[in-house]
């Protein structure tokens, strides 16, 4: 097992608001290995974005606060670094692509300039010509047509899909070891989504960067990811490799997520949403955060009182679930599982 690129342990992040303290991330730990794509799945408010933004230092410190935890990257703990040191990693070894391409680029600066800035910030000695050439090359890599013309244009002259490609180009400009993509396709049309995902795959192949792909779309996870992390109410409730998670989910929430999706190859009369809504992150009820909506719990005492720890499923440390009764889900196949006896 190679060394992980990023190693997060016991990360806790909270926000002070007028209504109380929001526990956005409540003790999560995971690793990201070189070259792999890790998917983080969850609803809005599950803490998936906050966890990655906090290690990059992009959470405004009031009202946000990293309470505890470590994030080891290249032998340094990102959470303990001074601002200036963290800044040297950002955009260079660690890069991020954000959700909404329409607002993520500065409207008054040319696109070429903004991409060049990513390079020049970290390599100020590079000549302007070299930087420009590299930017054009990057734009070409992500599939922006006529990159030499587009270089001198403003963001409003780019379409949504093109802007997202430019964002991706900007993120990989310095060949990062870790790329974090926070819902990169959520704000785009479905057809453009597919194109942007292709770009991400291309980019990964070129740079061999480890990627964290944050999304609420299971379809994207299935297509792009090697391993999956499922988050709920600030905690990781299940994780494993993608085939296992889709084929053999062992957490009622994961199952609920999959069941709420329609399966195109079958006739379904009813869609099955998960009843209820996510809990308040300010006043957490004791016990498992999911239990009020859980079909498995049935109000059993441990669910109501004890927070379930992440435990290996069937002895395998690669697949863990945070459910008191995960064993009761044994043998259950999700509707997306390959049919028994067919190709694995």
């Amino acid at each position: 097992m190679p060394e992980p690129v990023l190693s997060i342990r016991d990360l806790v992040v909270e926000f002070k608001t007028d209504d109380g303290v929001v526990h956005a991330v409540d003790g999560i730990s995971y690793d990201v290995f070189p070259g792999e794509t890790l998917g983080i799945v969850g609803e809005s408010g599950s803490g998936k974005s906050v966890s990655t933004m906090s290690i990059l230092g992009l959470i405004p410190q009031p009202p946000g606060r990293v309470v505890s935890g470590t994030a080891m990257f290249k032998g340094r703990d990102l959470l303990k670094l001074k601002k200036r040191e963290l800044r040297q990693f950002r955009g260079d070894e660690l890069a991020m692509v954000f959700q909404d391409p329409m607002t993520s680029l500065n409207p008054v600066l040319k696109v070429g300039f903004q991409l060049g800035e990513a390079i020049k910030t970290h390599y100020p000695k590079e000549s302007d010509d070299k930087v420009k050439a590299r930017v054009i090359e990057l734009l070409r890599l992500v599939g922006v047509p006529n990159p030499d013309v587009r270089y001198a244009q403003y963001p409003h002259e780019f379409s949504g899909g093109m802007r997202q490609r430019a964002m991706i180009a900007m993120a990989i400009a310095n060949s990062p070891s870790l790329l974090i993509a926070d819902e990169p396709t959520t704000a785009l049309d479905v057809t453009i989504q597919a194109q942007v995902l292709e770009v991400l795959k291309t980019v990964q192949a070129e740079t061999h960067a480890a990627t964290i792909l944050i999304t609420h779309d299971l379809g994207i996870v299935a297509e792009m990811c090697d391993r999956v992390l499922v988050m709920y109410a600030g905690k990781i409730v299940e994780h494993g490799d993608v085939h296992t998670i889709f084929g053999n989910p062992r957490h009622p929430y994961t199952i609920g997520l999959m069941d709420s999706l329609p399966k195109l190859t079958e006739d379904e009369e009813w869609l099955r949403p998960i009843p209820g809504s996510p809990p308040s992150l300010i006043n957490r009820p004791p016990g498992c955060a999911f239990h009020p909506r859980c079909f498995l719990s049935q109000g059993r005492l441990p669910c109501r009182e004890e927070v379930p720890p992440l435990r290996p499923v069937e002895g395998s440390a690669e697949h863990e679930s945070a459910c008191h009764y995960a064993d009761e889900l044994a043998g259950r196949r999700s509707k997306f599982a390959e049919p028994v006896g067919g190709p694995a």
Partner: protein, 328 residues
């Protein structure tokens, strides 16, 4: 402990069984969502939009202070005939230019008018002018704005060009000219002149809202049901403008009061015998050593405008919370 047989998710033909909300054969109703809420003693109350607005307003400290101050000041003005220690006609040459004292809180002017009483009468004039101007200009603005916003097209274009034209000339210059030509010192003429020139802001706001509402489905639905233009405008669209119109109207009161005071200060507004804060302020110019003549009426004017501004901010917060709150 309930004994449940795990139902296979790959069950070929699940028959959906009628069960309470959100539940099905696969997922018997999870225990206790409602019980949980009731158990924790959380009460859910239905509240009207205005109640929410009132709560938000009350939370705004500055607005509450402004409201309190304004009630006191305007109240004193409205009741000036009873509250003022000295009448309008009272003069006392022996007390000419007396500095502030217990007998004359704001001092006296050259012929012995008690400045405190004069200021109170001036406040009354200001509030009469301010409120009336705000009401009239809001109505004009609503009419023009709704017509422009509802019909759109060339009607909108024409009306907006006209309002733009009104704006190309600086307001005070136009007001001064109008007042010089038609004002002749009367409080009511000045009121009408000011009202006729400051409605453009309100018109723009109403027009903007109408333009965006036009596209909404419920307007189309009302049209399809055969509702006439007037009815649609009044019943469906106008109520949506109430919040911003009220905010704008409140600020208009302050604006009108300042304009009237400026006009009177320069000698083209309200003239004697009606008292205006503007005329009171300018009276102190020739005797700069008697600073209280200018200072107090102006201070009162500043307080009125500040109070109204705070209230306006609070109202904006309360009635339109979607607008990003500029932290005072």
């Amino acid at each position: 402990m309930t004994d449940r047989t795990p139902v296979g998710l790959d069950d070929p033909s699940p028959a959906p069984i009628e069960q309470p909300s959100g539940a099905s054969a696969m997922f018997p109703a999870p225990v206790g969502l409602d019980e949980l809420i009731a158990g924790e003693g959380i009460e859910v109350q239905a509240r009207s939009q205005w109640t929410y607005a009132r709560i938000r307003f009350v939370r705004h400290r500055l607005a509450m202070i402004g409201l309190f101050v304004l009630i006191v000041v305007f109240g004193a003005g409205a009741l000036s005939s009873y509250v003022a220690p000295y009448g309008l006609q009272h003069i006392d040459i022996t007390q000419s230019f007396a500095p502030p004292s217990w007998k004359h809180i704001f001092g006296t002017d050259q012929i012995g008018h008690d400045q405190f009483s004069m200021t109170l009468f001036g406040i009354r004039t200001s509030e009469e002018v301010g409120v009336l101007v705000a009401i009239i200009s809001s109505i004009i603005g609503m009419v023009v704005g709704s017509i422009a916003g509802y019909y759109g097209g060339w009607v909108d274009n024409l009306l907006m060009r006209l309002t733009d034209l009104v704006l190309t000339l600086p307001l005070l210059a136009v007001l001064l000219t109008a007042s010089a030509l038609w004002g002749s010192g009367s409080q009511w003429r000045v009121t009408f002149i000011v009202a006729l020139l400051i409605w453009t802001g309100g018109a723009r706001i109403v027009r903007g809202i109408f333009l965006s509402l036009r596209e909404k489905e419920y307007v189309e639905a009302a049209k399809a049901a055969g509702a006439g233009d007037m009815r649609i405008m009044f019943r469906h669209m106008l109520p949506n403008t109430m919040g911003p119109v009220i905010v704008n109207g409140t600020i208009a009161v302050a604006f009108a009061i300042i304009l009237e005071a400026a006009l009177s200060f320069l000698g083209f507004g309200i003239k004697a015998p009606t008292t205006s804060l503007g005329t009171l302020i300018v009276a102190g110019q020739n005797d700069p050593q008697k600073w209280w003549v200018t200072f107090f009426p102006g201070l009162v004017l500043l307080i009125i405008v500040l109070a109204i501004n705070f209230i306006g901010d609070g109202l904006r917060d309360a009635l339109d919370p979607t607008q990003r709150r500029v932290r005072a």
